[in-house]
Symmetry: C2
C-alpha cells in the first residue's frame, strides 16, 4: 500500500530550473547586503510562544503555527523582526552597535490557502540597529541598498518611493487632526486603488473632515515633481511644527546623499501618500514599485522605527530596515515570465564513449579545478537519450570522449545552443567554454520586456 | 512588564563572528556540490504527517515535532531524505535522471536536551538518483566529492573510509550466517569502542557463533593495508558467492578511479568494519574520519541504496548519497577552536570626519563597485569608540576622511592588524586593501593544529 506523495498547499516547492534561479537571487542578495557591511543572521524557526508573541498580536496571532511539545508552548516565527528584537535584546552586550544584519529565512503564516498566497515563505530583511541613537545617514543609505539590490538582479524599471512619518504627523498636527491622523492615512493609502475624488469623499463623509481640511490634505498628498520641487513645496508648511520641520530636514538629508550613493534620480521619488504600518514607523518610510507592474505592489518596503524591542528590554534600540517578500516576489515574476530560467546545474556534461572512464574523469577533474561545473554522465543509455538529458537540463556544452579523441589528445565539444561542434585540445576547449559561459552568466536574473518599457517611458 | 528574551535549548543561535564562519562553510558546500553538477533543492520544513511518516519510523517517530493546524496533521521534517523521496516520487516525470541534488536545510528532532545535541540542526546532503538503474561510477565519484568538500574547507588530516555492503552480505552468506548478519555487524560496529578481543567474545557468548566462524570474522575485519593489499586479501574469498564477487568488483572500480578523481591514496581507506544503517544501504558505504579527532566520529557518511521511495511509488529509484551533520560539525569544531573566526562583516570601515558626508559616501560607493565590502560609520561618537567598533567586529581596514584628506584628494587608511597607517590616493589605497584582503581570504575555514598533526603522522 503506497502513500500518495504530496506537498502541502501554500508551500512553494520548485523544480530544478526554478530553484536555480531562486538560488541566484538569494546569492545576489547575500552579496549585495554583504557589500554594505551587513552580517548574516540565522535564528531558530521555532521559538517559545511567550517570547514570539510578547508584542501581542491581533490579526497575525490567529495565523501562527503554535503547538506544544512535551511541556513547551512553541510557535513558528511569522516574521524576521520579532526574532531580531529577541536576538538583539538577548545578546546586546555581545554585539557592536550600530548592529547591521541581514537575514534570509522562512517564516510561517497559516493564511487561507489561495493562489499566490504562501503559508511558508522567505523574507529577506536588512536592519541597522542603534544603541540609544541612530544617525539619519543610515536612512539615507537604504535607498542605495534597494537600488543596488534590484539593479544587480537585472531590474531596470523600478522606483524607490520615500516618505517621512514626521512630515505626515507634523502636517496633521498643523491641521489639528492628530487624533484622526491614523484614519486619514488609512484612507489616503487607498489613493492608488480608488482615486483622489473618492478619497476626498471618504475624508468628508466617513471621517467628517471640514471642506478646507479635505482640500489641504488633497493639496498636500498631490505634491510631486523633482526632489527639489517637492522640498520647495514642503517649505510652505515650514516653521509651524517642530516635528514637521525635523521630518523635512531628514528628507532633505536622504535626498542630498542620493547621487553620492549612486542612486539615479529617476529611480527615486518622494511620495507623500506612503505611510506603512501605523504604529511602528517613526521616520523615513520606503516602498519600491515596479513601473510596468503596479499590480504587484511594493516589492521592498520598510522604514525607520524608534524602538525595536521595547517588549523585551528597557534599552532603547532605534533602527531602520527593509524587507523583501522573496517567495511572493519570485512567484509573481515567474508568473509574468520575467525570470531567466536558462540556468543549468552544470556548465558541461561529459559523455565518456569508452568502457574505461579514467580519461573522462581526468578531463572532468581538470575542468573543475579551473572553476567549470562539470557533470560526468556514466549511465549506459543510447546516445540520443544522453543528448536529451543535457538538453532537458539546459546544460550548454557537451563533451564527447571516444577512442579517437583520447588517442589524439583532443576533445569533441558541442555547443548545445548553436549546435556547433569543435574538436580541439584541452586548453582550446576550455577557452571556448569559458568565453561562452561568460556571456551566459552576465544575463540578468530578472528580465524585462523592453517593449513594455518603451511603451511607458 | 517585559518578557524575558530567550532562545530554546537545543537550538543553535550564533553570534555574528561565528555566523560568518557558518556562512562561509555553507557557501563552500554550495560551490563544491555545484561544481559536480548537483542542483540545489529546497523543500518545505512542514509536511503532511502521513507523507513524512509513510516509511514508519521506530525511534525517530517519537522525536518528531507533530501538531495539528485546522484539520491538518502536520510534522516538521526530521531529515532531508524523506522529503527527497517525496519530491522525486511526486515530480519524477518532470525530472531528468540521474537526478543530482544537494540540499542544505534545517531538520527537527525533539531529542532530550543535552550539551552538543541539537533539536534544530542543518544537514547538508547530496544524492544521485537513477531511474531504474544507476551506474557504479557514481559511487566512485562520491569520495572525490567528500575529498574536495573538506579540502576546500581547509581540512587536511581526514580519511574517507569505504566499504561495500555486498562484500559484507556475501561474506556472511559464505559462512552461512546470513540470518545473524545484522547482529554480527552491530557487534563489529563496536570495534573502535571496545576493541577486538571484546568483539570476539561478544560474537561467541552473545551470538553463539562457533570458534571457527569467530576466527573467520575477526580475520576478515582485520584486513587492511594499501588498496591493492586489501583487494588481494579479498581475493581469498572470491568465487564462492556472487554477491561477494559483485561487491569486490564494485570496490575495485571505486578504487580504480580514485586518482583520476584527484583523491590522494592517503586520504582513502577500505574499512571492512563499516556497515552504516542496516536496512537501507546495499552497495558502497562511506564514513569520513578526522584523524586527530576520532572522538568526533564520522563527519560525512552515506552510501548506495537500491530504492529511495518504495513507500510512495512503484518506480525503482536507486541512488547514492552522503550527508554532513552541519550544525553538530560546526559545534565540535568551534569547541575545539578549529574555526577561523577572523571573518568580519566588512572589509573597510569608513569614518567621515566632516559634517558633510558626500565625499565619504562617494569613496564608499567607489570601493563597493570594485567589490570591497564597505561600512560607512556615521554615528556621532568619540574617536576611540569608533576605533573600538572596528576592532570588535574584526574589520581589517579603517579609512579616515577629514578636511585635509578631502582637500588633498588622499585617503588615510589604517591596517588594524599591524597598526600601519598610510595616506595615499584612491587607487593606491584600493590596491593596498585588495592585497591585504587576498591574504586573509585564502585563510582556511577549518584550522588544524599542525603540532598535533605532526605528532600522529
Amino acid at each position: 500500500m503506497k502513500v500518495q506523495p504530496r506537498t502541502l498547499s501554500g508551500f512553494m516547492e520548485l523544480l530544478p530550473r526554478e530553484q536555480l534561479v531562486m538560488e541566484r537571487i538569494m546569492q545576489t542578495l547575500r552579496e549585495t547586503y554583504g557589500s554594505y557591511g551587513f552580517t548574516p543572521l540565522d535564528t531558530p524557526i521555532i521559538e517559545a510562544s511567550e517570547v514570539l508573541l510578547a508584542k501581542g498580536g491581533g490579526e497575525t496571532e490567529k495565523q501562527i503555527y503554535r503547538f506544544t511539545k512535551g511541556d513547551s508552548d512553541l510557535s513558528l516565527r511569522f516574521d524576521l523582526t520579532v526574532p531580531l528584537a529577541k536576538y538583539v535584546a538577548l545578546h546586546c552586550n555581545e554585539l557592536a552597535f550600530p548592529f547591521r544584519r541581514y537575514q534570509i529565512g522562512k517564516v510561517y503564516r497559516g493564511e487561507r490557502a489561495q493562489r499566490g498566497r504562501f503559508r511558508e515563505f522567505y523574507q529577506a530583511d536588512i536592519d541597522i540597529i542603534g544603541d540609544g541613537k541612530l544617525d539619519v545617514a543610515n536612512e539615507a543609505e537604504i535607498p542605495a541598498i534597494i537600488y543596488q539590490t534590484f539593479s544587480r538582479l537585472g531590474l531596470k524599471r523600478f522606483q524607490i518611493c520615500v516618505n517621512n512619518r514626521k512630515i505626515l504627523n507634523g502636517f496633521y498636527s498643523i491641521l489639528n487632526l492628530t487624533e484622526q491622523a491614523g484614519d486619514i492615512m488609512r484612507t489616503v493609502d487607498k489613493l492608488d486603488k480608488i482615486g483622489a475624488e473618492k478619497v476626498a469623499e471618504l475624508l468628508r463623509a466617513e471621517l467628517g473632515l471640514s471642506p478646507s481640511n479635505v482640500e489641504e490634505i488633497m493639496n498636500f498628498i498631490s505634491i510631486n515633481g523633482t526632489n527639489a520641487e517637492v522640498l520647495a513645496a514642503l517649505d510652505r508648511y515650514a516653521g509651524q511644527n517642530e516635528l514637521f520641520d525635523a521630518g523635512r530636514a531628514e528628507l532633505e538629508t536622504v535626498i542630498k546623499y542620493l547621487s553620492a550613493f549612486g542612486v539615479p534620480e529617476d529611480h527615486f521619488a518622494v511620495d507623500l501618500t506612503i505611510a506603512r504600518g501605523l504604529d511602528y514607523y517613526t521616520g523615513t518610510v520606503y516602498e519600491t514599485a515596479m513601473l510596468d507592474h503596479p499590480e504587484i505592489g511594493s516589492i521592498c518596503s520598510g522604514g525607520r522605527y524608534d524602538n525595536l524591542a521595547g517588549y523585551y528590554t528597557n534599552k532603547v534600540l532605534p533602527g531602520v530596515g527593509i524587507s523583501i517578500g522573496l517567495t511572493r516576489l519570485f512567484y509573481v515574476l515567474n508568473e509574468q515570465h520575467m525570470l531567466d530560467t536558462a540556468s543549468a546545474p552544470a556548465d558541461v556534461l561529459i559523455l565518456p564513449m569508452t568502457p574505461d572512464l579514467t580519461h573522462a574523469i581526468s578531463v572532468a577533474s581538470r575542468l573543475r579545478e579551473l572553476g567549470v561545473r562539470v557533470q560526468l554522465y556514466t549511465e549506459k543509455k543510447k546516445f540520443n537519450a544522453k543528448m536529451n538529458y543535457a538538453d532537458r537540463q539546459g546544460i550548454p556544452y557537451v563533451i564527447f570522449l571516444g577512442e579517437d579523441e583520447i588517442a589524439a589528445q583532443l576533445i569533441s565539444c558541442k555547443d548545445m545552443a548553436t549546435g556547433e561542434q569543435t574538436k580541439l585540445d584541452f586548453d582550446q576547449t576550455y577557452t571556448r567554454i569559458i568565453q561562452g559561459l561568460g556571456q551566459r552568466q552576465s544575463a540578468a536574473i530578472i528580465k524585462e520586456s523592453t517593449q513594455k518599457g518603451t511603451e511607458q517611458s
